[in-house]
Amino acid sequence: MSVDSASPLLQVEGLHVSVGDREILRGVDLVIAEGETHVLLGPNGGGKTTLLNTIVGLPGYRVTAGRILFKGTDLAGLEIDERARLGIGVAFQRPPAVRGIKLKQLIQVAGGDSFDEAAMADVIGGLTLERMIDRDVNMGFSGGEMKRSEMAQLIAQAPDLTLFDEPESGVDLDNIAVVGGAMTRLLKAERVGKGTRSGLIVTHTGHILEYVNADIGHVLYNGRLACKGNPRDLIDEIGKHGYDKCVECAICQM
């Protein structure tokens, strides 16, 4: 199925999401077009991860109003794996360790049948995974190793939209550059006849933006997207005045 280049890849409309009895998202509207990389800023506990997990389809995130369209398809009722096969990928902040499943096995599963040995070797070399590849996935991995492992799986999976949850957290400086490089590779990869890929990066420090170019920034505040603008300007503003002032400021293009 080819996607009309004019239509947005992801459309979030008036989204309300509750976790347990608590309403976390209170009417989120977000549009990501093909080839765009967006950044989601906001204070801890503001609902950034909730938005990501709701798009991914994790249980426990209850949509009480609004909808999410991906390539024009309403995601309501679709299982996590169906959404993944539709083209949504996610790099988790703290992925679980899975005993007995080797990283190599998971990369292969993510890549599918067309992911051949050359592609595997390329991913392993690019992310220097040689010493991790035959280990149980995430078992005893350091923060940086965990992120490199996530990137390897996603490069293999090649999603049209990749969601990154705090890609810089727990990662030392050496690894941030490697992770940033992998993110750029993921987001800028050309897909023949399919346009370029898109991304949504959740960050509360903005540090990762020194390594990845993003087009549009948003501030998720109090369950809503309160502010939209150039990601670097937003981060500067937040750095100077904090989130409370930021959502009222002039650079916001809302």
Binding site: A84, R99, G100, L106, Q153
Partner: protein, 417 residues
């Protein structure tokens, strides 16, 4: 009366007295409910077996082509129907029925190997085997011989509701090495029955035995193995046990006696509890030799209404000994029960270092979601995680056997979806 005759009488008297003695663990069985096994006809080659038999034998690691095997023993019901040492291993090992070995080496067998590690009056199952003339395999690897291909032994039940009583003896002479694969299984038409198997393994100085047992029974079949291993100086025993199919009940608790200095016993168990199976497995390692070591690792998954006991006992009797138990269970059904029972004892050995890790947990939902987020459907994710959990990386496992176990895990995971 000769020594042999005296010992025979003694074994008989001990067994008579234990005829009704209940076992320490496992459901008690009424032995009168089973019929005696009949004779089966010998074959010239395993290829002469019917297709169905060959297939079920293959599922427990027995190659009817004998390709890649150093030797074969095949018993149907009470009869050894085939035994052979592959030509290139001639003069390096002996394979025969235990009955033949007792006839060939009566003094040696009665003095050292026959009912010397397992007591005939341990319980009603050992008594049952002791009181009836039984076969089973005798494997002896000659001094210094390193047998680089596995020796295979199949204990096959072909008739319904019989008791198959076997008595196996393996003698590893000084400095010898071998891998033995024992596959125990039944004809698809068999529903009920009992397999009572005595196994006594003697590891001489510096010898190494890797013993892998794959069990494949049926919903109404009972199994009571009784196994003991005696290790001399510097000997290494590695026991791999795989049970992937339903069974009515199995209770097994092999005992390794690390008598020699620096001897080492390792137990790896992979158990998949299905349907109404009652599975009570474990191992005991007794460390008497200076510097002796032991390690027992069990992975158990329970589904349906199965009940699984995973036991492990470590007994240190010397100051310089070390042992560790690692039993992890995964419960996948609200109707199944699992017990993990680690049991450690230091007997007059203040320097003994004994430790255990025991855990029972569900299949983690977040692990399932994680795999699903990479595009894996839920049922496949559950199956991958279960396989991974049961996938013990058993060092020294022959590649062919590795594939065999992988295949069993794969098929079982598929079946259970």
């Amino acid at each position: 009366m000769s020594d042999v005759a005296a010992r025979k009488a003694e074994i008989r008297a001990l067994a008579e007295a234990a005829r009704d003695k209940k076992a320490a663990y496992g459901p008690d069985l009424d032995l009168s409910a089973f019929n005696a096994a009949q004779d089966a006809e010998s074959v010239e080659s395993l290829e002469a077996l019917d297709k169905q038999m060959k297939e079920v034998a293959l599922s427990v690691g027995i190659e009817s082509s004998e390709e890649g095997r150093a030797g074969t023993y095949f018993q149907v019901d009470r009869s050894p129907i085939y035994q052979r040492v592959t030509e290139m291993y001639g003069g390096k090992l002996e394979i025969m029925s235990t009955k033949d070995a007792v006839e060939l080496y009566p003094e040696l067998m009665y003095e050292q190997y026959y009912w010397r590690a397992v007591a005939p009056d341990k319980d009603k199952y050992t008594a049952l085997v002791a009181l009836q003339e039984t076969e089973g395999y005798f494997i002896r690897v000659l001094p210094g011989q390193k047998i680089d291909k596995p020796i295979q032994a199949c204990l096959f039940v072909s008739e319904n509701n019989i008791t198959q009583n076997v008595h196996n003896v393996i003698v590893m002479e000084e400095g010898s090495e071998a891998t033995v694969i024992t596959g125990c299984t039944i004809h698809p038409k068999v529903r009920e029955g009992l397999h009572a198997g005595i196994s006594e393994f003697y590891l001489g100085k510096g010898s190494k035995l890797t013993f892998t047992m794959i069990h494949n029974w049926a919903e109404d079949f009972d199994v009571r193995p009784r196994t003991a291993i005696v290790l001399d100086e510097d000997a290494t025993y590695i026991n791999n046990y795989v049970l992937m199919k339903p069974v009515k009940s199995i209770q097994s608790f092999p005992v390794a006696k690390c008598v020699g200095d620096r001897s080492r016993a390792v137990f790896n168990s992979i158990v998949y509890g299905l349907e109404d199976s009652t599975i009570d497995i474990g191992s005991e390692s007794i460390m008497e030799g200076e510097g002796s070591r032991s390690e027992a690792i069990a992975r158990t998954v329970s589904r349906d209404r199965s009940v699984v006991y995973s036991r492990g006992r470590l007994i240190g009797r010397t100051n310089d000994c070390k042992a560790h138990l690692d039993c992890r269970g995964m419960v996948q059904s609200a109707e199944s029960t699992q017990w993990a029972i680690p049991d450690l004892a230091s007997e007059g050995a203040p320097g003994a270092e004994l430790s255990h890790e025991a855990a029972i947990s569900p299949i983690a939902a977040e692990e399932i979601y994680y795999l699903m987020s990479r595009g894996v459907p839920k049922d496949e994710a559950v199956s991958m995680i279960t396989r991974g959990f049961l996938d013990l990386e058993i060092p020294g496992l022959p590649a062919a056997l590795r594939r065999q176990i992988d295949k069993a895990l794969e098929e079982t995971a598929k079946d259970s979806m």
